[in-house]
Symmetry: C2
DNA sequence: CCTAGTAACTTTCACATTGAAAGTGACTTT
DNA sequence: AAAGTCACTTTCAATGTGAAAGTTACTAGG
């Protein structure tokens, strides 16, 4: 999708046009906090994103300038993905989403500073 | 979806399981900031959500306890939707998403405090 | 009484997206 | 030569989306 095809002038609608789906922000999460760099590593995440979806999302994120694909090895050619500064700027968004989920849905919380995560709550 | 069906223990994945799609957060936005209360009003938003999608999302949000449907008039029966405290707690999430979109996608910004919005940027 | 209008959905159906699984190509390792 | 790895791509059935029309329950006007 190109910029002129945004649904509306609303910043929320526009952001959802870019990252508003089930998988995209999980890819960003893995690149941002979990040190994942390769297609394989991203695919091996807990949520088991299908490989065709992952490939499509990586392409979209690259088109939006949120990440870049780079060759990190020749023979055989291997690629590494990493967030651009624009991609990294999504961190506060991810943080708020994580905080809300932790509080209201009992998910686990990951602390980017310490690199540690706290277990999911089981009770309400 | 029930809580036991979450994809993973990750708070981000869980939050996306609940509100991670193209429309849900726009409904929350309209209830949170734009004073929309009725099905009709929600449907008349700038992004023109299809009525079947709107109905399904309202049902989902109610099942998750994020909003409530109430009769506000008999003969003929009319309904009003409004956010619960849990629903309202999504405000910081919406704010971050809006801020990011405003900065990176040139969308307009709405200020909940003043109730005013600033025009979308056209340049980069 | 009949027709038009409104709100709140629901139904229909063609089309798009998803996701599980298998396949491909370029290599390296055994 | 055979097996393995990585980075995808292809296939295809199932699911989801969205435009449009239909339904139900009323009120208002002629």
């Amino acid at each position: 999708m190109a910029k002129q095809d945004f649904r509306s002038a609303c910043s929320i609608a526009r952001t959802l046009d870019v990252v508003g789906d089930k998988w995209t922000l999980l890819v960003v999460r893995d690149l941002m906090w979990h040190g994942k760099r390769t297609f394989q590593a991203l695919q091996d995440s807990a949520e088991r994103v299908p490989s065709n979806i992952l490939a499509e999302r990586l392409k979209r994120l690259a088109e939006w300038g949120l990440l870049r694909r780079e060759v990190y090895q020749q023979r055989p050619t291997r690629y590494a993905y990493h967030l651009t500064d624009e991609g990294k700027s999504l961190e506060p968004v991810l943080m708020q989403i994580m905080t809300w989920g932790h509080k209201h849905l009992g998910g686990g919380r990951f602390d980017p500073k310490s690199g540690r995560s706290f277990a999911a709550r089981t009770g309400p």
